[in-house]
């Protein structure tokens, strides 16, 4: 019976990103292998994306995702667990009938339909450890054509025409940066790929390197050719061991194939790339700090000018480009500057990768055309807010950015619009917040981060972030003073104006933008000692409504400090002096009773 199916090519793909593995991907894979062995099925079971590769196909909320392909006809299943595998094998693989109740629904397709994949196009589809697979989808053709047909000046012109801007956050036009560096008369120049992704809530750079390292390498070689550099670096976080490993392997393969080294592909152009491991400091994402770190010192920024394009690594002209920026380049040269410029908004061209997370149904890594509205991202791609709660705001740009409130949901997302709203593109984190998130707490969260990451070199940032954090902390504890909002605003402006580098200049943004749009929440904390979202621990109390409590005892069993007393089937009581306000009782109280109150 099995033999009659042998003519079919059977391929199973199991999603094995970080999310996939945590959801049980490995067990699912083993279950398929076991089921195939038992029944003598001749099929291949493959990892859709290799171990630890985050981002994968982006839709981690539905893990474990499994593709069953029979003769190339692919069916995608969601939420698959090992126990479900025998039925999939029996009915679909052997019986030819897909198990429709487990297949992905319209949301899965909606999640993908609005996306435009340029940078992520091949991530998850090709094996990052095999250069042949990258070449098979057109990889390195752009480089070969450039080396045989184009002058460095022409390469720069194409990049300028494409309108590509730096994806690291500030959005400086890439072509112009290259032009300035290329015009510098210097024997030695450097080009650096900035892969020091340190923003809490952004992981696209790592995903790109893990999923398609050759695209970044090809981009870096193109940049080196354009500016006339023979030495390149990739500065990558040591905390990304898999990305480092893949990158090193990819570099070896590129060398073996003659894309790196002396006289690349018969040209007179020499170029090679070294990997430098970062040691964990957010400030090293700043160009001059990154340079100091590569030189082996503390990663502290210095004042600009001189800009690195004039005086950078070891005092030589240096271009620093972000991972996502570089990964765009091969595609721009393959498909043309005009095509690239046709995607996106007036001043922001192409696509942007976002890490869509927080209180949203479809979390994951997405790539959308610039200019798309927040509404499309949150509702069409993201599927709306978790538990159908009310959308409150979206935080973009990480610790350098701000919150965009619900009334601006129609905002079209590009560099200029985000700045206008008091936020910024940053590296592309997009954290969705709902009515249960306290905006003062969010501001405090980011200040905790920037305060601890401040390198301490300049006073406005070193002292300023600490003072901002102190004030925010006392507000969240109900000890805010009447003029604290004005004090925060004044101090924030001073820090913005007088800090040495981008970290300090942008650190107050989360405070300013939350005051701008959610001033009433600050006021409620300060004047009424009340946290409207019910987040700030010191300002909330939990009580049990005697009318509603049925004495099921669930809260009592879950209370970590034994603060709840009550006999079975009798009303329970929280002893306030013992309560640590962890909220466990609130969460476990069965919905049909909803007896625990938070105020």
């Amino acid at each position: 019976m099995v033999n009659s199916r042998m003519s079919k090519e059977i391929v199973i793909n199991v999603c094995m990103g970080t999310g996939g593995i945590a959801a049980g991907g490995r067990d699912v894979m083993d279950a398929f292998i076991e089921a195939f062995r038992e029944r003598g099925v001749d099929g291949r079971v493959e990892k859709h994306c290799a171990v630890h590769q985050v981002g994968c196909r982006g839709f981690c909320a539905r893990d474990v995702l499994v593709d069953v392909s029979l003769d190339g006809e692919r069916t995608t299943y969601q939420y698959i667990q090992a126990a479900m595998v025998p039925r999939l094998v029996e009915e679909h693989v052997l019986g030819g009938q897909p198990v429709t109740e487990w297949t992905v629904g319209p949301e899965y397709h909606a999640f993908h339909d609005r996306q435009v994949k340029v940078v992520l196009a091949d991530c998850g589809n090709i094996d990052p450890d095999r250069i042949e697979e990258y070449e098979g989808v057109g990889g390195y053709t752009a480089l070969r054509r450039i080396l045989s047909e184009m002058s460095p000046g022409e390469v720069i012109d194409v990049v300028r025409e494409s309108g590509l801007r730096g994806r690291g956050g500030a959005g400086f036009p890439t072509g112009i940066k290259w032009k300035i560096c290329a015009d510098n008369e210097s024997e030695v120049k450097y080009i650096i790929c900035n892969a020091d992704e340190g923003d809490p809530g952004a992981f696209m750079d790592r995903s790109v390197i893990e999923g398609n390292p050759h695209a970044v390498i090809e981009g870096l070689i193109i940049g080196a050719y354009a500016i006339g550099s023979a030495h390149g670096y990739v500065y990558i976080r040591a905390e990304y061991p898999l990305a480092v490993e893949r990158l090193r392997r990819a570099l070896d393969q590129a060398r073996a194939k003659g894309y790196l080294g002396k006289g690349i592909h018969g040209s007179r152009f020499d170029f090679d790339i070294k990997v430098k491991l970062g040691a964990g400091a957010f400030v090293c994402g700043e160009e001059t700090a990154l340079i100091a770190s590569i030189e082996g010192e503390r990663g502290m920024p210095r004042s600009k000018p001189p800009f690195p394009v004039f005086k950078g690594l070891w005092g030589k002209p240096t271009v620093i480009n972000n991972v996502e920026t570089l990964a765009n380049l091969p595609v721009i040269f393959r498909r043309g500057a005009a095509w690239y410029a046709s995607v996106g908004s007036e001043k922001s061209k192409g696509t942007k990768v976002f890490a869509l997370t927080g209180k949203i149904k479809n979390t994951g890594l997405i790539e959308v055309p610039m200019g798309i509205s927040l509404k499309e991202i949150i509702y069409d791609i993201g599927g709306g807010i978790e538990k159908d709660r009310a959308f409150k705001a979206v935080q973009t740009g990480g610790p350098s950015g701000g919150c965009i409130p619900s009334q601006h949901i129609d905002l079209s997302v590009d560099y200029e619009n985000l700045i206008r709203m008091g936020s910024m593109m940053g590296s592309g984190g997009m954290v969705v917040l709902d009515e249960t998130d306290c905006m003062v707490n969010i501001a405090k969260f980011f200040l905790e981060f920037t305060q601890s990451e401040s390198c301490g070199k300049c006073t406005p940032c070193r002292f300023g972030t600490r003072r901002l954090l102190e004030i925010l902390t006392r507000i969240t504890r109900g000890q805010g003073r009447p003029d604290d909002i004005e004090r925060l605003e004044r101090m924030a402006r001073t820090i913005k104006d007088s800090s040495l580098c981008g970290l300090g200049m942008s650190a107050p943004n989360p405070v300013l933008s939350t005051i701008r749009y959610f001033r009433h929440e600050y006021e409620a904390h300060i004047h009424e000692h009340r946290c409207p979202a019910g987040v700030c621990r010191e300002l909330i109390t939990y009580t049990i409504d005697p009318e509603r409590c049925k004495g099921c005892g669930k809260c009592r069993r879950h209370c970590p400090v034994e603060a709840i007393e009550g006999q079975p089937k009798a009303v329970h009581v929280i002893q306030q002096e013992k309560c640590i306000k962890c909220g466990s009782c609130f969460e476990v109280c069965p919905e049909k009773f909803s007896a625990v109150l938070r105020a």
Binding site: G19, A22, G198, G201, L277, G296, R298, G398, F446, P560
Partner: protein
């Protein structure tokens, strides 16, 4: 210092001389050899290279990656990135500290079984909040799941 340690330091120093290393690369290599940055190693290296110990410490304390104390057998990493934060990472962290009986400021348990550390983002925001023990990722964490997960580790016989 004992001779095996000296041998390790010699080899780190040789690599530094031969490949033109830096303070950062020296510290990275020392940490690879010892698992942390021992004070003796810094002073030895300072004497050998002529670089003041203060510069080693300046760099070592600047970067999060360097540890000046030996670390526990199991590394528990609590993600406190934005996505984890809004989904309750702090309560998970509090429970972890309670279960491991860590005093404020203490990172490694007295028996050397566990080191608890916070990390800004591990890039698994989709399954927030996230805790990683050694290299295993635990997604959609809650305070209640903490004891069970820690129970899987610790007090194992030496490998």
């Amino acid at each position: 210092m004992e001779s095996p340690a000296l041998e390790k330091l010699e080899s780190v120093y040789t690599a530094y001389r031969e490949s033109g290393g830096s303070v950062v690369s020296l510290l990275q290599d020392i940490q690879t050899e010892f698992g942390y940055i021992p004070q003796d190693a810094v002073h030895w290296m300072s004497g050998r290279t002529g670089i003041p110990a203060s510069r080693f410490y300046g760099v070592a304390t600047f970067y999060a990656q360097f540890y000046l104390e030996p670390r526990g057998k199991n590394i528990v990493t609590a993600c406190c990135g934005t996505a984890c934060h809004v989904k309750g990472a702090e309560r998970v962290l509090t429970r972890l500290r309670e279960e491991l009986a860590l005093e404020p400021g203490q990172e490694t348990t007295r028996d050397g079984q566990f080191t608890l550390e916070k990390v800004a983002c591990v890039g698994a925001c989709s399954i927030a909040p996230v805790v990683i023990v050694n290299h295993k990722v635990f997604g959609k964490m809650g305070p209640d799941k903490v004891p069970k997960i820690l129970g899987e580790y610790g007090e194992q016989p030496d490998e």
